[in-house]
Symmetry: C2
Subunit: 399 residues, 2 copies
């Protein structure tokens, strides 16, 4: 009586698997600054929270498998506000972006197919691929060039006969990289040439800094039928726990398959959809102030890193993550040590070890991922703790 191979092979989340060490630190009386997980501390728009408090139902019924029409229509208007033409019928509401991704893997690929991911990548992509029987083809990106894409020839060389798709997360979790129009054009062109699907994960669409513009494969007509957009309200409404996302496709066959998967799990969450059915009415000022806040936080983390000998990070353009090199040989050991052994003013910091975001063995060992989701003062304290921890860390790496 053994569990399945996929049950054994699936990787524990590098973002969540160290939680027991953090729990122990809290039980021992220390404060933990959590920079390991994309769970922001910013309030949800009041117009949305008010709908939860005034939910009019006497019970909580299933929603249609593809989503509540009012929510889907609001999302369509929201997309128009962001320059994307998406009709309500081109959308399937999902249980967060996670399920949209799962549906995309199921709908687009057969077991044994291969999908290109740019490394480092959001770690759950690998588990979702495993659960769909799909192999991951990681293409390394270099932190020294801000994890931007390698030359398109390098990507083309990596594609083989089993390669059926490319997954782009833009702006990227975990690197914060926002791809340029030229990069997105090149990916679309390659996908067309090699007959590949494009999955584009745009959960952080609005979170772009320093005047850069979000670029989406969805706006490239030449690949309209081969793009699947995976999306989520989690970050833009600070409703990660509502579990509401969308799968968008202009391809009727893809939507038909996804709708059958959606019917098999019956319904996405009704309360979250009900609350978020005003997403198109959230004032632009809300998003602007959130984005400004994140930009400030990003700069605080970068300032902190600049003061740590041997640490390195290039300024990322978007999302609320960044990867940094630390002067340690094994970042996971260092993170566990911070949680188990270190404190400054009775507090410590939790970040995610970098190697969990790589599929290539050995890569990312000296990197960590920050989710800069705490307010400025907590971030300043966190960076100070990190600096102190690196000074106190007994395991020295050869210079």
């Amino acid at each position: 009586m053994n569990v399945s191979s996929r049950g054994v092979k699936a990787q524990a989340s590098p973002i969540r698997r160290l939680a027991p060490y953090a729990d122990q630190a809290v039980r021992s009386g220390r404060k933990v600054y959590y920079l390991n997980i994309g769970q922001p501390d910013i309030p949800t728009p009041e117009i949305v929270m008010e709908r939860i408090r005034t939910y009019p139902g006497k019970y909580v019924p299933y929603s249609p498998s593809g989503g509540i029409p009012e929510f889907v229509e609001a999302m369509s208007r929201y997309y128009a506000q962001h320059g994307l033409e998406v009709a309500p019928k081109e959308m399937i509401t999902t249980v967060g972006g996670s399920e949209a991704l799962q549906f995309a893997f199921w709908a687009l690929f057969n077991p044994g197919d291969e999908v290109i991911l740019f490394e480092p990548f959001y770690t759950n992509y690998a588990t979702m691929a495993l659960l769909a029987g799909v192999d991951v083809k990681p293409i390394p990106c270099d932190g020294r060039t801000g994890y931007h894409l390698p030359p398109i020839e390098a990507i083309e060389r990596a594609a083989g006969p089993r390669t059926k798709g490319i997954l782009l997360c833009a702006p990227s979790n975990p690197t914060g990289t926002a791809y340029t129009a030229a990069e997105v054009d090149a990916i679309c062109d390659l996908a067309k040439r090699l007959d590949l699907w494009i999955i584009t994960d745009e959960a952080y669409r609005e979170f772009i800094y320093d005047g850069m513009k979000h670029e989406s494969p969805m706006t490239r007509p030449a690949v309209a039928e081969r793009v699947v957009l995976v999306d989520s309200i989690s970050k833009r409404l600070n409703m990660c726990g509502a579990r509401v996302g969308t799968l968008v496709s202009k391809n009727a066959a893809v939507r038909e398959a996804a709708l059958k998967f959606a019917q098999a799990r019956l319904s996405p969450p009704t309360l979250g959809q009900w609350a978020a059915a005003v997403i198109d009415k959230v004032p632009a000022s809300y998003t602007q102030s959130v984005v400004a806040e994140y930009r400030k936080r990003r700069d605080l983390v970068l300032d902190g890193l600049a003061g740590i000998p041997g640490a390195f990070a290039r300024k990322p353009e978007g999302a609320f993550y960044l990867m940094a090199e630390l002067p340690v040989a094994d970042a996971e050991e260092f993170v566990i040590w911070m949680l188990k052994e270190y404190k400054k003013d009775n507090a410590t910091v939790m970040v995610a070890p970098g190697d969990g975001f790589y599929a290539t063995p050995g890569r990312g060992k000296n990197e960590i991922r920050f989710a800069y989701v705490l307010e400025a003062d907590a971030l300043r304290k966190s960076m100070d703790i990190l600096k102190g921890a690196l000074e106190a860390y007994p395991v020295k790496v050869a210079p």
Copy 2:
């Protein structure tokens, strides 16, 4: 550029795929009585609804991947109230019972393994199996004996070298059958002898009539390590749209695998868990009155069927479904005809065609499934409409 084989093979839900015909009937001005889907009209307990309206957060954060501790602890006490010993650590909170089932298929079986289902079965089991690469081995049960299990020797003969598990839904959706202690004992004994997993879907645990007692494989110590309980708050709290369920196992390896799958999709819905974290405090009188109401409705449907020449159903013991034979050759055609062509007092009825609940080709063609989820007056009218429709139906079946 083709979608995947599983995208093509997945079956559209027989419960939901006729929805466009019903929508059209509504648009044309007719009233439709929906008896096709297990979406009850009974209010959620006030103690639960009140928590939604007083949700204290300023935003809606992720919950832990395995569930909010307060919810998990409340479920543990709820299980104790129902004679099941389940420690909080033996439970993983899921996105409805659907996801618990998906996790069980992923954790227990490898692609190519086979699982025994008793036919007719809840149709989404087949899609979940397909998406896990698992084959379904249907074992027919006979409506004339209330869809109770065939002799254990027949089940044993059907098991082959690839058979790795048995799935029991008790009481059953779609038949309403509640299995006896002897039936459950025999299944447990067989599972032990043939080294099989047992998945037990108990979403309808409380819905048992006429003094029968719910029997669960979870209470049989001899199979404690091989049972996975798939469960949901949807029906017992009338919160189908909250999307909160549980996977329960005494087997640490199963839980470890399921927790990794849970981490990959981050979090079950926070609002539903928050609301349902008082499930152990819902007064027993609530459940008693709900069960009494369903028993009354079951009897109304049976009374109605008794007045229809050529219709047949044995009285089921539980859940809020029943399967009935109708005097038609193709029940799906009849259901579509009712939605497209028939009206009585400007109303019609939607039920689910029976063949969607069978894997064996040709079976169930003359059956329909009722979900008796409407109040007494609507049910009486529905049965009257059904009777009239059968009289008016132009396609006659040979007697």
